[in-house]
């Protein structure tokens, strides 16, 4: 049984059918004029051999102008699977995504350099020293592999997290470019039984991480049937450029037939037009170009239409994920993916705020609600992320989980049918005939069925705001709860066969 996700019965759409088709047509025009600039020779060769017009561009870096005919793109969209399965160590955590079904799976991510610790020092009121309060204090530091283990561990127990994208960049002294991938994959897979998606630091490590996944899944065929890992590559750099190294990675992952996200992240105002029509036509062209390349490498490669559009901040020209336009672009992208029948990797919950608090809550909830309402299949929803995805805070992830539980309840389908109405009409007639005229007696079955939303889970007593402290207690409780690690025999094989995995991550050797 796959995870159920959140089925959005009638997804929110901003664009009319005519507007969707206009964007599609504009994207097709972009792919032929001006086309893309590719810094990757192999991509150029593949596209050229299927009918793309290619022209070398003079300059310091070798690059080519690639013009992809509409028919090539449409054929690629045809060959891309409309249903993508993302497996998991625990088969109950499998994600099945149909491009035409707005069933939302909520996933963590992305990789941040900074880990935010939380402490609750006590402050004394100067005017009245008998009065004390505890206030949260957030301390940033560089992320480590132990942090990644903790994050994967807690996310294993967060009810609303359907899949795991690594949340923190591991920057320990003994982590190098050569061993980073195997350690981030092992730390995540060993502490979390949900689907694991990641980017690659080094293409040289692709075979090692795939072999690790085969060992865990039970062999090559077992991994094909149950792809417990998938990849995300930003092969496109906006505007309209195939990057050399990430395109290499993309091509190699496609050759292995593992699921992959084609992600593009243009910034409206700088690397894409500030107008909605412009950024939409461009991001759609960029994603379709990536999908086209992937299908030409290996037709049928499971691919997600990945969209991380953002608007520029007007004060710094940095990303403004908290802006309302960012949510609008994301919702538009969900519609475009659905137009092609492809499962969509979308983005929500990213905030500009640097620490948990009111700004963070408002920014992330705003986009979490509206983007979820649009029905993306794979919603990379920034569990715990702050400061435009550069900071991760476990406490924030715990808060996000509770808030997504509320969103899930909000998005449930209305239960209004003839049977239900007959039952409530009977209730109304019965209650109106009683002296007290209260329906309270009918609450209990509904309450026990889980249909009624609960109290805010971090509501404190009295007039104090205890949200952070209560969420912190919840976080500690989840950390104390055990997770199902990879079994000892498989762990031993991983440490024998996969070079570079840090010995301290072998829980059986260190006696945990």
């Amino acid at each position: 049984m796959p995870r159920k996700g959140i089925l959005v019965d009638r997804p929110y759409e901003r664009l009319t059918r005519e507007q969707v088709e206009l964007i599609h047509q504009a994207s097709m025009q972009i792919l032929t004029d001006p086309g893309l600039i590719s810094f990757n020779r192999e991509a150029v060769d593949i596209l050229h051999s299927h009918g793309a017009a290619v022209e070398s561009i003079a300059g310091d870096h070798q690059s080519w102008q690639v013009k992809i005919p509409e028919q090539v793109v449409l054929s690629a969209i045809d060959s891309a699977p409309k249903t993508v399965k993302l497996g998991a160590r625990n088969p109950d955590n499998t994600l099945i995504m149909h491009g035409d079904e707005p069933r939302v799976y909520l996933v963590t991510g992305s990789e941040t350099n900074i880990w935010l610790d939380v402490d609750f020092p006590t402050y004394v009121n100067k005017a009245d020293p008998t009065r004390e309060i505890r206030m949260p204090e957030f301390k940033p530091r560089r992320g480590t592999v132990d942090d990644l283990c903790q994050s994967a561990h807690v996310c294993e127990h967060l009810e609303m997290v359907d899949g795991y994208i690594r949340t923190v960049n591991i920057q320990d002294r003994d982590i190098t470019e050569e061993n980073k991938d195997v350690n981030k994959f092992f730390a995540s897979l060993n502490n979390n039984t949900k689907h694991f998606m990641s980017g690659l630091t080094s293409l040289k490590q692709l075979d090692n991480v795939v072999r690790m996944a085969e060992l865990i899944a039970g062999g090559k065929k077992a991994l094909e049937d149950n792809p417990i890992i998938s990849f995300i590559t930003c092969l496109v750099k906006s505007p309209l450029q195939f990057v050399d190294d990430t395109t290499d990675t993309f091509i190699e992952v496609c050759r292995r037939g593992l699921p992959i996200v084609v992600s593009s992240s243009p910034q409206a105002g700088t690397t894409a037009p500030i107008r909605e029509a412009g950024i939409m036509a461009q991001i759609n062209a960029e994603v379709l170009a990536g999908i086209t390349l992937g299908q030409l490498v290996k037709p049928g490669t499971p691919v997600l239409y990945g969209s991380v559009p953002v608007r520029a901040r007007m004060d710094t020209l940095g990303d403004s994920y908290g802006s309302v336009e960012t949510s609008q672009y994301n919702i538009d992208c969900v519609q475009m993916a659905r137009f092609y029948g492809l499962p969509n990797y979308s983005t929500s919950g990213v905030c500009d705020s640097k620490i948990p608090g009111q700004q963070s809550s408002i920014e992330r909830l705003f986009s979490d609600i509206v983007v979820a309402m649009s029905g993306p299949q794979y919603l990379h929803c920034a569990f715990g992320l702050l400061d435009c995805n550069s900071v991760f805070c476990l406490l924030q992830a715990v808060l996000d989980d509770a808030h997504f539980k509320m969103i899930e309840l909000f998005l449930r389908q209305p239960r209004i049918d003839q049977t239900e109405l007959e039952a409530v009409l009977k209730q109304i007639r019965e209650v109106v005939a009683t002296p007290q005229k209260l329906y309270i007696g009918y609450i209990r079955p509904v309450l026990r069925s889980g249909e009624i939303s609960g109290l805010y889970p971090f509501e404190g007593g009295g007039e104090a705001d205890d949200v952070f402290e209560l969420a912190y207690e919840r976080m500690k409780e989840l950390l104390a709860r055990p997770v199902e690690h990879i079994d000892p025999e498989t762990t031993a094989r991983i440490f024998e066969e996969i070079p570079g995995v840090l010995p301290r991550l072998n829980i059986y050797e260190r006696g945990d």
Binding site: P435, Q436, K437, L438, I440, G441, R444, L447, R448
Partner: protein, 230 residues
């Protein structure tokens, strides 16, 4: 066997099942006797009224209270149990005399004149009945004279007054004043409540107690009964 009936009464109070048609908390018990049917059966079996009330009904309510405190039960669960106990007490009332069980007392409740809000007052009534009190509910938008007449005729130990509006809460003071003018004030303890009402307001109008919610209202009445009120 007799102990079994008492245990079943207690269990069904915990389940909040007044009659055999009620669902309760557990699956598959619809159709089995509820509290009222079990109390009838206990009476027919000649079981002691005291055991029915203290071990069965009150024993069940004590456990319900503990579950509520523990967050396992919610207010609808408490009310369902209280309603079941209230219905049982109505069945038992004719048998109380000579049973060795002292009636807990009578309380008149009313929402004052010009105020149509009665949810809180109704919940308080259910909880009071569940606690073993005899409750006479005069309804809402009740004339001051009707309340005074009821106190004179029914001779209750308690009078509960409710108001939801800042514009109607002053009627509570009018009721107390008229009870004094009619020489009835000293024979009844008055407890007030409602959204705009406060402890300070209760004191300022000469009420004997204030209940912030239904549970506190019952606690205040219990305290006034036993003379332990602050």
């Amino acid at each position: 066997m007799p102990e079994d009936i008492i245990s079943l009464i207690q269990e069904n109070v915990i389940q909040g099942r007044m009659t055999r048609d009620d669902e309760g908390m557990d699956e598959g018990i619809v159709g089995q006797p509820g509290v009222t049917e079990l109390v009838e059966k206990a009476l027919a079996s000649g079981l002691s009224i005291q055991d029915i009330i203290t071990k069965g009904l009150s024993g069940g309510m004590n456990i319900v209270g503990q579950k509520f405190e523990a967050g396992e039960y919610f207010i609808p669960d408490m009310l369902a149990s209280a309603q079941a106990v209230g219905a049982a007490m109505e069945i038992l009332e004719p048998h109380l005399a000579g049973s060795g069980v002292n009636a807990k007392g009578k309380i008149i409740v009313a929402t004052v004149k010009d105020d149509l809000h009665d949810i809180g007052k109704n919940i308080v009534s259910i909880l009071l009945r569940g606690a073993g009190y005899t409750v006479k509910d005069l309804g809402n938008n009740v004339d001051i004279q009707v309340i005074v007449d009821a106190v004179r005729e029914e001779k209750p130990q308690f009078l509960g007054l409710s108001a939801l509006l800042t514009s109607t809460m002053a009627r509570m003071a009018d009721v107390i004043q008229m009870l004094e003018e009619n020489g009835l004030r000293d024979q009844v303890k008055i407890v007030v409540g409602g959204a705009p009402v406060s402890e300070e307001f209760a004191k300022s109008i000469g009420a004997d107690g204030y209940g912030a919610d239904g549970f506190q209202a019952v606690a205040v009445v219990e305290a006034l009964s036993s003379g332990t009120e602050n």
